[in-house]
Amino acid sequence: MSEKKEPVFENRYPFEAKIQVNEEKIREIRENYIKISKINLEKMRRGKNRAANMAYFENALLDKTERIKELKEFKAKGGKVIGIFCVHVPEELIYAAGCVPIRMSCGFYDTIAPAEEILPKNICPLIKSSIGFNFLKVNPLFELCDIIIIPTSCDGKKKMAEILSNYQEVWTLEMPNDRDNEVSREFWVKQVRLLKERLENLTGSKIEKKVLKKYILKLHERTALVRELFDLRVGQKIVVDGRDVYFVLQTAFFDNPIRWMEKVRLLINELKKNIQNNKVIVKESTPRIIMTGSPLIWPNMKLLHIIEESGAVVVADDSCACGQYFYNPAELEEWSMKSMLEALSDKYLLPVVCPVFAHCDDRIDRLLELIEKYKADGVIYHILRLCQVFDFEYIKISKLFEKKSIPLIKIETEYSEEDAGQIKTRIEAFIEMLEARR
């Protein structure tokens, strides 16, 4: 069981990756996290006609004790909790191995400064924040993680794997950067197979076909639900705003998927009723915005607050923290282990619109499709400072959108609230322009 067929990354020169922060400071940061979450939720509650079923998700976020208890019981029974980053880790495999994945990305400003002690200055805030968030145990779920799986998507994630390995066992999933050729796809299938072997070694039991099939179908259901939720925003009557959808999707980072799905189903039913009863949250002429670019991860809802408080509404996005998270299904027609692994590896590589891949044409197609389907008036391109991959792609996209005369605005920002005023002015001008264009 302990013998591994393939050696995982072994950190031979570990250093004591300790952040020099005293307990009091950590407590302060933790409290701050709850405070900011509450402020965010407060802002989101302000709108009229908000769905009542959002309460479950609010509770799940603020009070994680129940989930922690659940996971601790699960661990006591011999289950493993696995921390994951990005949308490229096949969750079905993890569930089928009898483990539970928790997505660990974070958008919390306060953990950036402490994390800079062990990180270089010029990397994106998401990496800094995630490392700080987890090292400082602001996220209580982090302590429960046995393994962290990090796909080697962008440079930040790659090196984050190395730094986190001082602290905990980290598995990397080597991702091909050019997914258009056969070789990379075969390579990725092998990687997924390797992950399966590692998981089998970890738990000491084989992943069975039946179990994997069960979880593929279950998560397929989740995809269908999420798509249904997104489709509710297609029509002219808007009953749920962008913030809420982002928020709901991000509670799935850590929540029990079965319970989460049930609650989302309730939410969808309520929203459908709201559409019938004309209980809209904004009037129909509100400018419709598509969000793209770097992921906005809780509690960094700054940009969404600004947009939706300035009289626009976010109808769709292609972010890995919301619109892409559960969007892609694993369709397959035969249930042999081989074809299931192939389907899974395809699901987590091919349709994902991450900018780490060699070209962004597929992402542009997706954006154009979103604009057409959701009848969007404009696109807001969010770039986290120092997120190079999104920055690179902006140029191509802006030139194309100029040609197609689709309004596009680039907002480059950080997690701090400092530039909120400036962004607000720019977004308000942009929204005014959109209203004038109609």
Binding site: T223, A224, S336, A343
Partner: protein
């Protein structure tokens, strides 16, 4: 009701009709199993057993482009033969134009309307291969993906083979080439090497008419036939192996890009998830790769529309017939209630 289910129903119905359809009609084919398809002029055919015993003017005495085999017990078959049988047999009997033209026109008409739609939905050999695939799936065995090299090779080979068949069909009637002596052996290489010629008689309770090894030509043909039969049986492990080299399929493929059944793709809706490629029984990459053109008909496609069935995006893939959408891809709706854990 999804497309694949409709297709299975159509396939089973077509299989029963083509193979056992003769039971449902009152007038029987009473010709011998080596009878030519169209009525031969008597001065060309000398052998007694080739003299027709019936007149060929019944409706069902027509042919169908895909494998509706002649070697099935004459009681059970619905049509006379398949298109390849017809096309390669016309030269040897010097059938007059007025006799074979109606059949040829019918063939071309069906090609222009349906092309390889017939392979995916109607062909009994295709249905048999799908059945083999189904058995494998039920046994829980992995399918073997044909290496790209073979896919490419078969794509070219089938046209070489098709050309060879037509050349031989004509060459054996030209005295100067000296092949007329071997007319009996070289006649109908298409059928003598076709897996259907072995499979169909067996499932209709006849004998497959075993090969003669009495001269080198027969031995070579028998070896090729065995090779083709094993490729056909390999469909148990791979999908639709025989369809990759089937001469009728090759012939129908030529009509695939201009026929009335059009497969359309909306490149913007496509997320490039690769599902269409993975479920394709012919390992076709066109639907998956195409990102600029709208029409994604491909020479190699058997029009089974599995890609359309499995595509997870609304309206990304559409099948149009005469400009009217008959099938379109739909995303799956969540089930309303689900209470298992």
């Amino acid at each position: 009701m999804n497309i694949t289910l409709i297709r299975r129903i159509v396939q089973i119905t077509a299989f029963i009709l083509f193979i056992y359809g003769g039971f449902f009609i009152t007038v029987k084919h009473i010709d011998s199993s080596i009878m030519p398809f169209v009525k031969p002029p008597e001065d060309v055919v000398k052998a007694d057993n080739l003299v027709p015993k019936t007149k060929y003017d019944e409706v069902f005495d027509s042919y169908f482009p895909t494998r509706t085999c002649r070697y099935i017990e004459s009681d059970t078959r619905l049509f006379r033969a398949c298109a390849m049988h017809f096309l390669t047999e016309v030269p040897i009997y010097g059938v007059p134009l007025y006799d074979f033209l109606p059949h040829l026109l019918l063939f071309l008409l069906l090609c222009f309307i349906l092309a390889r739609f017939m392979c995916g939905w109607l062909c009994p050999l295709g249905a048999t291969q799908d059945f083999l695939d189904w058995v494998r799936r039920r046994l829980g065995l992995n399918h073997i993906k044909l290496p790209r090299l073979f896919v490419k090779f078969f794509e070219k080979f089938r046209y070489v083979w098709l050309t060879f068949l037509f050349i031989m069909a004509i060459a054996i009637v030209i005295p100067i080439l000296g092949l007329t002596l071997y007319q009996k052996d070289l006649n109908l290489i298409t059928c003598n090497t076709c897996p259907g010629r072995i499979i169909f008689p067996i499932i209709t309770g006849g004998s497959p008419g075993w090969y003669l090894f009495n001269n080198p030509i027969n031995i070579v043909i028998a070896v090729i036939a065995m090779l083709f039969l094993s490729i056909f049986l390999l469909s148990f492990f791979g999908k639709r192996m025989w369809c990759r080299i089937c001469p009728t399929g090759a012939l129908l493929s030529l009509f695939n890009k201009g026929c009335l059944i059009v497969k359309e793709k909306n490149p913007e809706k496509c997320t490039k998830c690769g599902i269409c490629e993975r479920v394709c029984p012919m390992d076709n990459k066109k639907v998956f790769k195409e990102k600029s053109k709208k029409i994604v008909n491909d020479y190699n496609c058997i029009n089974c529309f599995k890609c359309v069935d499995k595509c997870p995006e609304d309206d990304c893939l559409k099948v149009k017939f005469l400009g009217k959408t008959i099938f379109r891809s739909k995303k799956e709706k969540p089930k309303d209630d689900k209470k298992d854990n």
